[in-house]
């Protein structure tokens, strides 16, 4: 009798302690139960989105919530909000919880990785397209081929390179949303002031250097105005390598970072850094901000490599800026090229509402979503018709971008895309600091090849 009582007492204490301990982890507890709710709602969403497909959108009273992660602020952020709003109006039974994540894309996706590994992934993530293959190979993205097939989405509505980047081993893992290209923006007033012809911008590397020299005003170690910094803003090495005639991957899929033309390009960058003294350039670039403080908009930088989004930005942050664009110069002054990246939406593994998530992805990449997003953000659509509809083909600046798109390159589709990107960015940084370009690119080649073979 006494023994039983005692046992019960011990049990009571243990339960009490355990419940206190569990309450301590309350955050997790709540999250997981929230997840369950989502899951329950997800079941309903499946039904309701199915009815949406049959033309009864909004028929169901149950609301599904999908979480979308993105890293967009300023104009692109506004564009994202507009897309979400339009989507919610069209699909009243799906609520989109759009969450800003500071680090996503361009090789930085740690938070997404942790979320997927922890089984707490968002339903949709806005994702740098060139990394899709890397992540798909890790099994972290949901194969959406089935959904695409069922909804009749295929390659027809996308630029071929964008579609290619979204596929890995014959399966679709992402819905492309934007694309871009890179040209050199130049300040026409600076050109006039320096005695250069604003209607006849540089076309060869040598002319570019000469113009940059004339446009640069230096006072001691400080730049009052700097003509050009090859690696600034969108001056990633891919662009220069291709402009110099180099290749980054051969037809058999071998990495060719140390292509002699690439070495030539990096050598040019290294010499440029030496000529203007890298520490002084760093003083300049480290002092610069973005938006209204962007050196191109404040008139401290005369030429820079950038993408189409600079146009709406200029309109917003310095409407009086008198500028133009020209293709990235090449050593010979012909065979201009550029490269195009862009973003996509992906459905991470563990998405709780795949059906509703797919509806959102489809809407975003569809003509309606594309028109809203592209118009506000200034990013090109991956749908040619949308670009035409928005008048990009007549716009004085945008048409230059559209013109160069057919010869544009896309970054190699490979499982080590993120590593390759980071390695090249590092190589440029080290080259500007005086390390041997050839040795650096050899090393990049070695590292990426090794990672590919693992």
């Amino acid at each position: 009798m006494k023994g039983i009582k005692k046992g019960a007492f011990l049990l009571a204490i243990f339960t009490l302690i355990l419940s206190v301990a569990l309450a301590g982890c309350g955050g997790n507890g709540n999250n997981s139960s929230g997840g369950d709710e989502n899951q329950a709602a997800g079941g309903n969403a499946e039904i309701s989105s199915n009815t949406a497909d049959t033309g009864n959108a909004g028929g169901s009273g149950e609301k599904a919530t999908i979480t979308v992660w993105h890293a967009m602020t300023e104009l692109t952020g506004e564009a994202m909000d507009a897309v979400v709003k339009a989507f919610e109006e069209k699909y009243p039974n799906i609520k989109v919880n759009s969450v800003y994540i500071a680090q996503q894309g361009e090789g930085k996706n740690e938070k997404l990785l942790a979320a997927i590994a922890g089984g707490n992934a968002p339903d949709v993530a806005y994702f740098d397209r060139f990394e899709v293959a890397t992540w798909a190979a890790q099994g972290s993205l949901t194969d959406i081929s089935g959904y695409a097939e069922a909804s009749g989405v295929n390659a027809d509505n996308f630029y071929p390179f964008a579609w290619e980047e979204a596929n890995y081993e014959g399966k679709l893992y992402a819905m492309p949303t934007t694309t871009d290209a890179r040209l050199v923006y130049y300040n026409k007033d600076h050109f006039k002031a320096a005695g250069l012809d604003p209607e006849n911008p540089p076309s060869t590397i040598q002319e570019l250097e000469e113009a940059a020299g004339k446009l640069t005003i230096k006072d001691g170690k400080r730049f009052k105005q700097i003509g050009f910094i090859p690696w600034y803003n969108q001056g990633w090495f891919y662009g220069w390598g291709w402009s110099f005639g180099g290749e980054f991957m051969d037809v058999e899929g071998n990495v060719t970072a140390n292509d002699p033309k690439n070495v030539e390009a990096l050598t040019w960058i290294a010499n440029y850094a030496k000529k203007y003294n890298i520490e002084d350039i760093a003083s300049f670039t480290d002092s610069q901000g973005t938006t209204t403080m962007d050196p191109f908009f404040t008139g401290q930088l005369s030429m820079q490599v950038s993408g189409p989004w600079t146009v709406p930005q200029a309109e917003k942050f310095n409407p009086d800026l008198n500028y133009g664009v020209f293709p990235m110069p090449t050593p010979t002054g012909d065979n201009y090229t550029t490269w195009s990246g862009g973003w996509a939406t992906v459905m991470p593994k563990g998405s709780k509402n795949p059906e509703a998530a797919w509806e959102f992805m489809k809407f975003f990449s569809g003509e309606e979503g594309q028109e809203i997003f592209s118009k506000i953000s200034g990013d090109f659509s991956i749908n040619d018709r949308v670009n035409e509809k928005l008048g990009y083909k007549e716009h004085p600046i945008f048409k230059e971008f559209i013109k160069v798109l057919p010869v544009s390159h896309a970054r190699p589709v490979m499982t080590q895309g993120s590593l390759y990107w980071n390695e090249l960015a590092n190589a440029v940084d080290l080259a500007t600091r005086g390390e041997d370009p050839k040795a650096l690119l050899d090393k990049v080649n070695e590292n990426v090849t090794k990672a590919l073979n693992q």
Binding site: L18, V20, A21, K221, S287, S418, D429, T432, K443
Partner: protein, 313 residues
């Protein structure tokens, strides 16, 4: 009388049995009450620790279990130039930061131990920076050290010096980092202050009688008797310095620029684990770091017998 008192007492064996039962019960209750902590330690510390040792022998990528590769990760690290670069950066930081932090920490503590009015205000001022979160501190110093319109270069301009690019300069990036890390030594200053207060006034009085100068008293009384605290801060400082991460990571956007001069050991570890899908490789790095820190700490402990003087010994 005595017998009478002893009579109601139970026989010795019974007492023993009862005691041991009580002990058993106490132990049980003890474990029960400690169980949240014990479970926490096992689940959130021991398990990850042991798993990371196992992962260091695999190609684990967080998303995929990978395969067992024996010591290959360790072997590859030995020929990884970025690993060695990050290692030497970290050593540079430890070698300069730890002694400087001890020097300035002790000096500040001595200043803040003087009998001056409003001392608690000064102490608060020096402690305040430790309350600033590391990321906020990084952003604050990025502005102070901004080459174009930062306060530091602004002041240098006044005296006619065009300051360097600080964080953008290969030469100055690490000294900048050491400078801003020194700004946050309030924590150790508080410990030194406690240590100073702990030194008995008797020694100083005896010194005064013997006519010792301020310098002699510092050299022969204060410093030797402060050695236990210095010892503690040395060990903690080294452990902390080897794990330098937040400041350089925030200031360089995770890239360790310029020219990898700000790429620290733990940053590279993090990159491998969370960016390059090489958690196995990262685990191997973590274990190497653990062994280095352990060895250094053991060495300092072994060595401490020679220079650490405890009061009353």
């Amino acid at each position: 009388m005595l017998e009478k008192k002893a009579a109601p007492m139970p026989p010795a064996t019974q007492i023993r049995a009862k005691n041991s039962k009580k002990l058993r019960d106490d132990a049980l209750y003890g474990w029960l009450f400690a169980s949240p902590w014990v479970i926490g330690l096992l689940v959130f510390f021991a398990v990850p620790l042991i798993s990371s040792l196992y992962f260091s022998f695999t190609t684990y990528s967080i998303l995929q279990p990978g395969e067992f590769v024996g010591f290959r990760n360790y072997a590859e690290l030995m020929s990884d130039s970025v690993f060695w670069k990050s290692f030497s950066n970290t050593i540079y930081f430890v070698v300069f930061f730890v002694p400087l932090s001890i020097f300035f920490g002790v000096a500040l503590a001595m200043l803040l131990n003087m009998n001056v009015r409003g001392m608690s205000i000064y102490r608060t001022i020096f402690f305040l920076p430790t309350l600033v979160p590391a990321v906020a501190m990084a952003v604050l110093w990025m502005w102070l050290l901004n080459p174009g319109f930062g306060l530091v270069n602004g002041m240098l301009d006044v005296i006619g010096i065009q300051g360097p690019a600080w964080l953008g300069s290969e030469t100055w990036s690490k000294p900048s980092l050491i400078l801003m890390s020194l700004w946050g030594i309030g924590q150790s200053v508080v410990i030194y202050l406690a240590g100073l207060n702990d030194i008995s006034q008797d020694y100083y009085e005896a010194g005064d009688i013997d006519g010792a100068s301020w310098f002699h008293k510092m050299k022969s009384i204060t410093l030797p008797l402060l050695t236990p605290v210095i010892f503690f801060n040395l060990v903690m400082g080294i452990i902390g310095a080897f794990q330098q991460f937040t400041l350089p990571y925030t200031m360089t956007g995770g890239r360790g620029t310029p020219a990898d001069s700000m790429k620290f050991y733990v940053m590279y570890l993090y990159d491998n684990g969370f960016k390059f899908f090489k958690m196995g490789y990262a685990s191997a790095m973590a274990w190497i770091l653990f062994i280095i820190v352990m060895a250094l700490t053991a060495l300092i402990f072994y060595n401490s017998k020679k220079w650490v003087h405890y009061q009353g010994e």
